[in-house]
Every structure is written in structure tokens, then in C-alpha cells.
Symmetry: C2
Subunit: 723 residues, 2 copies
């Protein structure tokens, strides 16, 4: 009978795979399509016959639903729930380590070091029966283990003699949504906010569940629902009811909800005369508000705060410091176990010095003064998510303060959701950078994971690229950046190749003739984009406000550090921002060996050359070319490489589904057009300073500079146009 069912299911999926499986991208990497390779299908079917889930908590029910859905889909058979946990061939036993069933198979499991959220996946033989045990200290670990087992099958790994022990390297693995209450998303390029506030709390969109599933599958355990440019309305009771409904939907998947706290909320919501953090009335207001939140959401995570930055209110409005602001909120949250995440992304409205230096200048002196439930959240680089930046000098510079990493998953400066840019290589470049603050191997990763300075509280945030587009992220490949962020937050030792391959296998195909070309595309993609946008350490030369397209000509705005000329400083002699000791001295914020490298025209990596140096147009580069010629070559190489992406993608035609194949093809065409505009605009603009011809071997841009300067992008997404 089982055989027959199995046949029917197999048949169903084989037919479905070829006939009508719609691939609109909604399923993300959790596709669970029937395994096409007979060998694998048969092997897994031999190894998996039934499921035992010990326990009934919402999280374990979610785990049970997921493993059944996944196995039924992948194996094409209906894998039953076992009626008892006793040994039988092909049983998968899932449960907490403390549960009788798990104890029966893994009597020594207590000694396994899974940590709070980790898990083991262990093959156990009892007599002639081979059982796979997924066990964890907590329910959520079981859920994570289930997703891990499914991933093994999705990526065609052997289930033979499994002995896996996983635990996350970082405690708080968090998405930051910059979602406004009107459902616009600041820097969002995948439609609009998932959170349908108007229909909450009664209407629980299936997307909320699928969002939670996707996050849990990669270990993301926290989400900030609202924009850091915060709106106090989210703290009203009406909205907290809605937040509560979302928290209830996410809780089974191990995801805690955080909110952004607008520092002036006591004034705006309850007409207090001040929001001074040292004012007792203000403190009481926040204490009450926090209590109110925890009454609705007992596991509420806490507040993310952007204060005194880009017009946001903050403690400095009252002559108080970031420390005083953060600690006031920390006091309110402390009784409930909540956390304050205070952003270090601040720079003065009056632009007193190199913007790249300001976060360090402001926060380093505060090291050691924050309460122990405060994180300082630091962007990966000192400016603002540019295509390439050096690591932020605060990493390693505040040993007494747990620093959270803030990556940007949404491609604000990297072609929106139109450009294929795999961000894992960018993330890894930062994580692997050696701050050398405590000698060698003081990597950014070790700052963030707490091992460098012995912090037990650790965190990594990614600014989400998720919207209400059917495929969640706008670009099929943008899904890989959500995926990679989660995987690296769990384990930053994974390589970008490993993550790419996992994702390709789960998302597109397990066939080598798909995996190999697509992996090459992904691995090359970030550098390609840097080349056609901001090669050699250039930065912040994008369009005004919407940040779309090139605009190195921006100058004379109300603040200098929102212009482009402030950053590239091109003149007749050369180009680049001198941040050495002859310039802004920003290099001095790094540990001496790093500072020395960056300061040296010779030792500074060419990828960051113009970040740290004002360099003569005639400077001889490693290629043997002058700086000017090299700059041109990089721009042209970037665009040519987009053509290479297009050609490479053609290789998978017919090997992936038609719909997504067409989507990526159309987007690559757009990327090529936009890359060409970047190249031509930048080369022609910088030429007005270098006064040199474009190298003869390179074609001349199609239009004069004025054409590019006149391009406008009204209604580019990601900002409110009525601002």
C-alpha cells in the first residue's frame, strides 16, 4: 500500500514539475519540489519512512507541519507521523533533548553543546533500525534542525551517518524593516510593506506565516517592524494591538518583535513638555509605555533607535548624550528582559569634519558607559552602505560595548532590485577584515560574535529587502541576499561560495550545469557592480535623494556631505578623499597597523585607494596604467561584465523555469542599460577634471555629458515623493 501511494505521489510530482508548477518566486528557497534524480529520491525514501515529533507546543507543531510538507514534496510520498517513538526503520525522531523519546536514542544528549538555539542531527542505530534524531535544548532548536534536515535533502547531501551539531555564532540575528505606517518602505524596492496595518489585528495574511518560515529556515530570530526614521504612532494602543497580532504569528517560529522608538514620542503622543531622558516624567512615560507593550507581548524584544541623526529627535536635543538616551530606555526595558539597540549612524548637521569620522568620534568616548542591555549598532562601513567601504573603525574600538553589525540587504546604493548583486561577498569582506585592535586575527567577525572582547550578548542586523512583491525581493537573485544574511548571522565562517551553492540548489536546480554558471555570476556580481558604479574606492556619487543612477556632479547643496563633490574631490590634479594624516586623518581611527596600510599610497588596497587618498591622474597603478586610464578601464570592464552576466545566464535557458528565466533576462537587460549610464556619466564627468581622452581601446560614450546630467528619475521607488 505504501508503495502504491508512493508511486502516485511520485507521479504527481513528476507530472507537475513539467506541466504547471508555477515559479513566481513566492516559495523562496523553501520549494520542496520532487527530487528529480531517481537515485537520490530512492535513497532518501529508504532512509525516511516516518516522523515522530515529541511535544505539542506551537513551535513543535510548526516544525511538524514543515517537515511533513517538506518531505512529502521532496520525496513525493506521504511520510506519515509515527504512532509511537519506538525504533523503526527510517524513523525521524524530533524533540527536546530532555524528552523521553530523545533520551531513549541519545542518552548522552545532555552533554551535547547545542546552546540555547542549537541542535543536533544524529543518526542512531538500534538493532537493525536506523533512526535520525533531531534534538535541541529548546523547541526552536528542533525547528531549526528540521529546516537543516530539509536543506540537506534539498541540496542532495547524504543522510548517511549524520553527526551534526550546530549552534549560532551570534545571538540576535535580526532584520530591520524600514517600513512606514503608510506601507511605503524607505529604500524598499520590492513593492510595499508586508505589514497591512489597516487589516491588522484581525486579518493574519498568509505572508506573515511564510515570512516567519523563511526567516526560521535560516535562523533569523528577531525583526524590527518599523522604520528607524520612526513614527510615534506605532506606540499607541491601537497599533500595539496590531503589533501583538504579528508577534503572535511570528512567535512559533522563534522570532521576536522589536519596534523603533521615536525619541520624542512622549511629546507627540501625550503632550509632555519635553523628551529629556533625565526628566522623571519622561522616564515614567517610557516605563509605563514599556509595561503596556509587555502586557501585550511578553517576549517583546526591545527598541531600535536612530537618534540625533538626519533630523531624528534624540537626547542631544536636551543637551544629553547618546549614553543618557540609551540608558533611559534600557532602564525601562530592563525589568522585562528587553534590549535597546542604539544606532551609531550619526553625523552632525553642521558638518564639522569628515563625515566618515563622526560616528567614531561620538561613540568611542562612550565605551563602557552603556547599561548591559544596550547594543550599539554600527553600519559595516563609516559612510552609508556604499558599494564598497572599508570596515567601520568602531569595530574593535569599543571593547566594553557589545556592537551589533548593521548590514544593508536592500540595495539602496547597489541598483535597487534591478541589479543582480550577490551581497555575501560584501558581507564577508567586512566580517573577515582584521581590525588588528588586539593584535592579529581581531577580525570584525570576532568583534561582532563577541569572542574578541568576551561579550555574551551579540547581534547582527540586516536592513531588509522584503516587500509585497510576489517574489518578496523584487529580483529573483535578491532573495539570495536575505538568505546569505541569515546564514552568515548564524555562522559567519561559511564561505560565500557555500552559501551561493546552497541557495542555487534550493532555489533553482541541483544540476551542475545550472549551479556552476550561476555561482560564477553571483560570486563575480558585487565586484562587477563596484566597477561600473564606484571603482577604486570612489563613493557617494549617486543621484540625489533617491540614490538612483550616477550623479558625481552634485554640489552646492544645503549640506556639503550630501553632495558628491565632497566625496570624490576631483580636480585638475587628481581625485579622491585624502583621509591620511595630511588630510582628514580618518585613518587614525583605525588600529596602527591598519592605519599604516590605509595611509600608504603603496600599501593601500587599490579597491579603497580613492577612499583614503587624493591621487594624481598620472599615478601609476598596479596594472601599469595611469589612474585615469585605470578608472576608465574599471568602468568599461564593469559594463562588459554585465554582458558576460547576460551571456552566462543564457546558458541556463531551459534548465530553469521559464518565468524566472525571463524575469532575470529582462532585469539583466535593464542592469546593462543602467550600468552603461553609470559608466558613461562618470567617465565623461571625471574627464572634465582629468582633461585626458578616454583610452583609445575603449569605445566613446553614446552621448555627451549633458545628456546624462539631464536624466531624471521622478518617482524612483524607496522614498516618499511628497516629502
Amino acid at each position: 500500500m505504501l508503495q502504491k501511494t508512493s508511486f502516485l505521489f511520485a507521479l504527481y510530482f513528476v507530472v507537475s514539475a513539467t506541466v504547471c508548477r508555477s515559479e513566481n518566486g513566492y516559495e523562496l528557497w523553501l520549494r520542496y519540489h520532487l527530487i528529480a534524480e531517481e537515485k537520490w529520491r530512492d535513497t532518501y525514501r529508504q532512509q525516511i519512512k516516518a516522523i515522530w515529533m515529541e511535544g505539542q507546543s506551537p513551535t513543535l507543531l510548526a516544525a511538524a507541519t514543515e517537515i511533513q510538507k517538506g518531505l512529502n514534496g521532496l520525496l513525493g510520498i506521504s511520510v506519515p507521523r509515527a504512532s509511537q517513538a519506538l525504533p523503526q526503520k527510517g524513523l525521524i525522531v524530533c524533540g527536546k533533548i530532555s524528552s523521553p523519546a530523545v533520551q531513549n536514542y541519545l542518552p548522552n544528549a545532555d552533554r551535547l553543546r547545542t546552546g540555547a538555539e542549537g541542535y543536533v542531527i544524529q543518526t542512531v542505530r538500534q538493532g537493525k533500525n536506523t533512526v535520525i534524531v533531531i534534538a535541541a535544548q529548546q523547541d526552536v532548536g528542533v525547528l531549526y534542525g528540521v529546516f537543516h534536515l530539509l536543506r540537506l535533502i534539498q541540496t542532495r547531501q547524504s543522510l548517511h551517518n549524520l553527526s551534526i551539531a550546530e549552534s549560532p555564532k551570534i545571538q540576535l540575528r535580526m532584520l530591520n524593516h524600514w517600513d512606514n505606517l503608510d506601507r511605503t518602505v524607505e529604500r524598499g524596492y520590492a513593492g510595499f510593506s508586508l505589514w497591512n496595518w489597516h487589516k491588522l489585528p484581525n486579518y493574519i495574511d498568509q505572508r506573515y506565516i511564510d515570512y516567519a518560515r523563511a526567516n526560521a529556515s535560516i535562523g533569523i530570530n528577531a525583526t524590527v517592524l518599523t522604520n528607524v526614521n520612526a513614527n510615534a504612532h506605532i506606540l499607541t494602543d491601537d497599533y500595539l494591538r496590531k503589533v501583538e497580532a504579528l508577534a503572535n504569528a511570528f512567535r512559533p517560529y522563534g522570532i521576536k518583535v522589536f519596534l523603533t522608538a521615536r525619541f520624542s514620542a512622549p511629546i507627540e503622543l501625550d503632550k509632555l513638555p519635553t523628551a529629556d531622558p533625565l526628566d522623571p516624567q519622561v522616564q515614567q512615560w517610557w516605563n509605563r509605555k514599556v509595561k503596556e507593550i509587555y502586557q501585550r507581548i511578553p517576549d517583546f524584544g526591545g527598541f531600535l533607535v536612530k537618534a540625533n541623526s538626519e533630523g531624528q529627535p534624540g537626547p542631544q536635543n536636551y543637551g544629553r548624550s547618546h549614553k543618557e538616551g540609551a540608558n533611559m530606555l534600557a532602564n525601562a526595558l530592563q525589568p522585562f528582559g528587553g534590549t535597546v539597540i542604539w544606532r551609531a549612524f550619526v553625523y552632525d548637521n553642521n558638518v564639522p569634519e569628515d563625515r566618515a569620522k563622526q560616528a567614531y568620534s561620538e561613540f568611542k568616548p562612550l565605551d563602557g558607559t552603556f547599561h548591559n542591555n544596550v547594543f550599539v549598532q554600527v553600519k559595516n562601513g563609516p559612510i552609508d552602505f556604499q558599494p564598497r567601504e572599508p570596515f567601520h573603525p568602531l569595530f574593535g574600538a569599543m571593547p566594553q560595548t557589545p556592537l551589533m553589525m548593521e548590514f544593508q540587504i536592500t540595495q539602496e546604493y547597489l541598483g535597487y532590485s534591478t541589479h543582480l548583486v550577490y551581497l555575501s561577498t560584501l558581507f564577508k569582506e567586512v566580517l573577515d577584515a582584521d581590525t588588528q585592535t588586539t593584535g592579529k586575527n581581531a577580525t570584525v567577525a570576532r568583534v561582532v560574535d563577541g569572542t574578541l572582547n568576551n561579550h555574551s550578548r551579540t547581534g547582527m542586523a540586516g536592513v531588509a529587502n522584503i516587500g509585497n512583491d510576489i517574489n518578496w525581493c523584487g529580483h529573483p537573485f535578491a532573495q539570495a541576499n536575505w538568505y546569505a544574511f541569515g546564514r552568515l548571522a548564524w555562522n559567519h565562517a561559511l564561505t560565500s561560495e557555500e552559501i551561493a551553492e546552497e541557495w542555487i540548489r534550493m532555489t533553482f536546480s541541483n544540476q551542475p550545469d545550472v549551479i556552476e554558471p550561476v555561482k560564477k555570476m553571483m560570486m563575480a556580481s558585487h565586484e562587477i557592480t563596484v566597477n561600473y558604479m564606484t571603482p577604486l574606492g570612489l563613493h557617494h556619487i549617486m543621484g540625489w535623494s533617491h540614490h538612483h543612477g550616477p550623479a558625481p556632479w552634485i554640489k552646492d547643496k544645503h549640506r556639503a556631505d550630501w553632495t558628491s563633490v565632497y566625496y570624490h574631490k576631483a580636480d585638475s590634479a587628481g581625485i579622491g578623499f585624502d583621509r591620511t594624516l595630511t588630510g582628514s586623518k580618518a585613518v587614525a581611527q583605525y588600529a596602527p597597523p591598519v592605519a599604516e596600510t590605509f595611509s600608504s599610497l603603496e600599501k593601500c588596497p587599490e579597491a579603497l585607494l580613492l577612499w583614503f587618498h587624493h591621487v594624481s591622474w598620472k599615478h601609476r597603478m598596479k596594472s601599469g596604467r595611469t589612474l585615469w586610464a585605470e578608472l576608465c578601464h574599471r568602468y568599461y570592464q564593469g559594463v562588459d561584465s554585465v554582458q558576460w552576466l547576460q551571456q552566462t545566464w543564457q546558458q541556463v535557458k531551459g534548465k530553469v523555469d521559464e518565468e524566472r528565466f525571463a524575469q532575470v533576462s529582462m532585469l539583466l537587460k535593464q542592469q546593462y542599460e543602467e550600468a552603461t549610464i553609470w559608466r558613461d556619466a562618470c567617465v565623461l564627468y571625471f574627464q572634465t577634471f582629468s582633461k585626458q581622452p578616454i583610452p583609445a581601446e575603449l569605445p566613446i560614450p553614446a552621448h555627451p555629458l549633458g545628456h546624462y546630467m539631464n536624466l531624471t528619475y521622478p518617482y524612483a521607488p524607496g522614498i516618499k515623493w511628497d516629502w
Copy 2:
């Protein structure tokens, strides 16, 4: 071999239907799921064996793709394309009447009166073979015929001896999208605009195709892409390239693209000193612009214009009339066959008289003065898409001008996409209303379909309720309103019951125990909503600006006719707007017999009583109750009926898919809560005038009036919150 394939497919669909068919509503009424009833499946399989599509045009290719997709899905067998058009058992022959294949089967087809867009579906016997012929004058008629055949199967109609001839009663069957270029949708409650302007023209979202399919399936043949509160940017070349891409995507499905024309565009785009329609420069500007559009879009439909209304610019800014404005644009469009649709929704900023009278006062004198490529588009009622209005007095009053009907499909005043309100009964109530302008049976439908005044150019527009929500319309039942609009625009003689049943069968189930209760819900739903919102002819008492929830207390705003008290005029004596000859005299805009009915306190339908009369609280109603008691009873009955909707929906549990069952259940809960707020707020508010108790048999509201007056809905969808 065919048998075997058939078995496999059947199996696939049976399994799929029970195992994993996701029902997120994306498929709309074009679900094409395997026929569950064996009898029907077998019968149809006997009758359909192969398809012959004569011709290769994009429209015929779309028709071929659709019929194959539909039949494969419904029948669960792969219905092949025939290799030749010769008779064979179960052949479906599709093509133009003029094609050899069709001529072979229907030699007299030329004489069939299908009209330009109509079609025939005819069973033809040749020898022992029975063939079904779908034939039309034009390709699009073949496509419509294909959708009709699929609908017959989707709704389990017999295919025996088919002899169908269909042609639309109305020529221009049009959606009006109030979509802004930043993708917000004015009065949109289903997410944001489908049109992803940023990724156009290169990226053709699959939704554009599926949108066109859905429209074609119900005969909608025109779409206005942009908001009537218009943005001139859509007329720039950058945007016209994007519009062109959409027009190309829609063209195979017989859908023409229209745009809204901002009257001041010549000033805004090209710095002309004026937009005076009599200025030769302005005329030349529009002539050039129109030529530019037609170079990109040879079948461009024309312009929809909202002028001199609610702040929009128009000819009156220059002392010119609507006629002069419309005719200027008509002149520009005329050489290319384009059309101007000029909205009659105008009312003076200075509120000189009853707003209900103003469109008539302004437009009736212009009858006969518009060029012959101008439509005047008139909303169904004289105010603004209220839950119930009398028909607009312009219908029948401008015999020399083709009047387009403007219905609102999006539920601006009818509970957004949260309330289950089937609008077909509202549409029909208006269409069936007898204007009596030329004696009896001068129905609004006959004004609109041109038969009353012998107009060959006819049109019906519906303000779309479509957004980028996965299920398109936000509420599963809101899809029925898109569907019903299209069906009525094609054939207004269809009954609301017929349309509801078709839709339920295609969308949910062909089982009577689903059809019957759901049809009852739909048929009752509009009256239910009128009862808990605006019974007995009340109108315009909703929330300020966002129009969500009750606010009969609104007064003292900068213009009287944007308040609620202006419309309900409640005082200690009674309630209602006297529009009889003792009042605003609006009744005089109707034909004498209609005016007489509306003017008479006795004859006026109670459903419109307070629209036309200021009535004493003590007035004795047909029920025997006083007006006050009747008003209370209507409000309470409305809310009680929502509970009935909830209970009735429970009857289909397990008979429809889980996901949509849950969605509707959650939304009905929200509807109940909001209906209760409407009831309590209105009853308590009007009680302050009637000074009478709520009838003893009715429960007392849960809160005092102040509670309801303090409710706010920040960030309610459908308006830009930064305005």
C-alpha cells in the same frame, strides 16, 4: 496512448487538488482546476479531443494558449492541437469567420450578427463527427469565445448542441485605475499599483499578462492606467515608453490603453504660459503630444479628463467651458481615431447650491456641443459613489451626447476591501432605473447602451479595485465586483444572481452546498451594508478624507459640502436633505414622473427617503414604526445581518479551500466590528437630535458617543498621507 496520458493527468490533478493546490486567490476566476465530478469530466472528455486554431496573430496565439491551459487543467488530459482542421470527433475549431476552416464548418457564418467583438459558438455535425466552432469577425472575438467555452465548462454547462451568439451591448468596457506614479492608489485597498513604473519598459511583470487575461475573460477592452487626479509626468517621453510597453503587453488581449490628461500639462512639461484651450500654441502642443503618443502606441485609446473639479486644472481657469476644453483635446485625437472621455463629476469650489445639482446644471446646457469623439462620463449617482444614491439626473438629460457610465468597483465608501459587498445589485439598481425621459422604459441602461438615443458610441467605466495584493482585490469577494462589472458592461441584461452563480462556480466550487449559501450572502450583502452605514437615503456621513468609518458629526470645514451635517441636516424636528421644490429643487432635474415620485413623501422609496426629504422623527414608516425607530432598526438589522453572513460562511467550511475560508472568516470578523462602530456611532449621534431612546428591544451601544467620535484611523489606506 491517449488513454494513458489521460490517466496520468487525471491522477495528477486529483492528487494535486487534495494535496497542495495553493489557493491564495491569484488565479481569480480563471482557476481551471480539474473537474471533480466524474460525470462531467467524462462527458467533456468525450466532447473535446483536439483544438484547431486558425491563424497566428498574437491574439489568436493568446487564445490558443488559453484554451489549452484551460482544457488541460479542467479535463486533466492533454488536449492536443490538431494537425489539420478536417472533421474529427471532438475537434474545437477556432478562427475568424473569414478563415477557410470556419467557412468549411459554418458556410453561412458571414450572416451571423456577431458585430465587431462578438462571436458564435456552434456545434456542427459533419458525418459522424461533432465539432465545436468558435468563430468571430475579429481575432479578439475568437479570444472572447474561447473564454466563453471555458466558462461553460468551469460552470458545468452542457456542451451539447451549442448555438451561442454573443456580442457586447456596450462598446467601450473600461477600467479606470486611480493609480499614481509613485504606485500609491487613490482609494485603493488592495495594496499598491500593479504598474511598476520603475522597472518598465524592460521588465514585463507576469501580472500584466494575467491582468489582461482576466479582463479579456469578461470582455473588458480598455484601461485608463492613471489617476484622474492627473500627473503630467505620464506624458513625458520617458513615461510614454513605459506606457508603450504596457500597451504592447495588453494588445493581444484586445485591451486599449488610455491615459488621464492633466489639463495644465503644456505649462508643467514645456513651460507654456497658458493652457487655454483656445490658444493656438496650446492646441499645437496637444496636437504634437498626441502624435508622439500614437507613434509609440498606434491604437492608443485617448484621454480621460477630470477638469475643474476638486482642484484639478481645466478650461474654466481660462474662462472657457468644458465643451471648449473637451473639443480641443478631441481635435488633437480625432486624426488618430482617439477619444476624449470628459468627466461630469464637477462641483463648484464655492458651493453655490446643492452639490447634487451641479453636474446637471453645468453639463445639460452643453448637450449637442461636443465633438463626435467625446464622451461625457457620469457617475452612477449625483454625489459620489455613496452606498446608495438615486440614479444621476444627467442620464436621459443629454440625448445628443453619448454618456459613459462611471461605476466605482473599489469600495471607497463601502468598507474598503474589508467588507463583503457584492456590487452587482448596486450596478443593476442604477442600470434598471427608469429615467422616463422619453416615456416608460427609458432606463439608464438604455441611455448607456445607446439604444435610447441612437448612439453607436457607448461606454461603461469602473473605477478599479485592483492592486498588487496577491489576490488582486484584497478581499476574495471583491474579485466578484471586478467580474460583475465586466459581465454587466458586456451584457447589462444579466441578472446579479446569474453573475454571482457564475463567479462562485468558477472561484469557489460547483457544489450546490457552496453555491446556494454564498449566493445568498452576496445577494444580501449590499443592502446589509447600506443598513449599517447609510439607511433610508442617508449619505456622505463618513470619515473625513480617508472616508473610513462613520463621522456624521463632521461640520465647520472649509467647504460645507465636504461636511456630513450638510447632507443629513439632522435637527430637533427631523433628518434628511429636502431636495423637493420646497428645498433645493434637485428633484426638478429628473423627468416629471420621476420627479413626482421622488418629491412625494408617500411615493418616494424609503430607501431614498432622506436623500430627498427632511422628515420628522415622528413620521410613520411603512413598518408602522416612527422614522427614529425605523432608523435604529435598520442600523441594528445591518449589524445583525453581518453575524448572519458570518454564520452562513461557516456552512462552507471544509467545502472550500482552507486559506480563502480563513481569509473570509477573518475579514467578516473585522466587518462585524466596523459595522458595529457604524451603527453605534450613528445611532448615538442622531439621538442627540431626536432626543428619543433607542427602542427598548434593541441593545444599548457599548460606549458613549464620545468614544466613537474619538476614534481615529491614521494611515488608513487609499490616500497619500503626506498630502
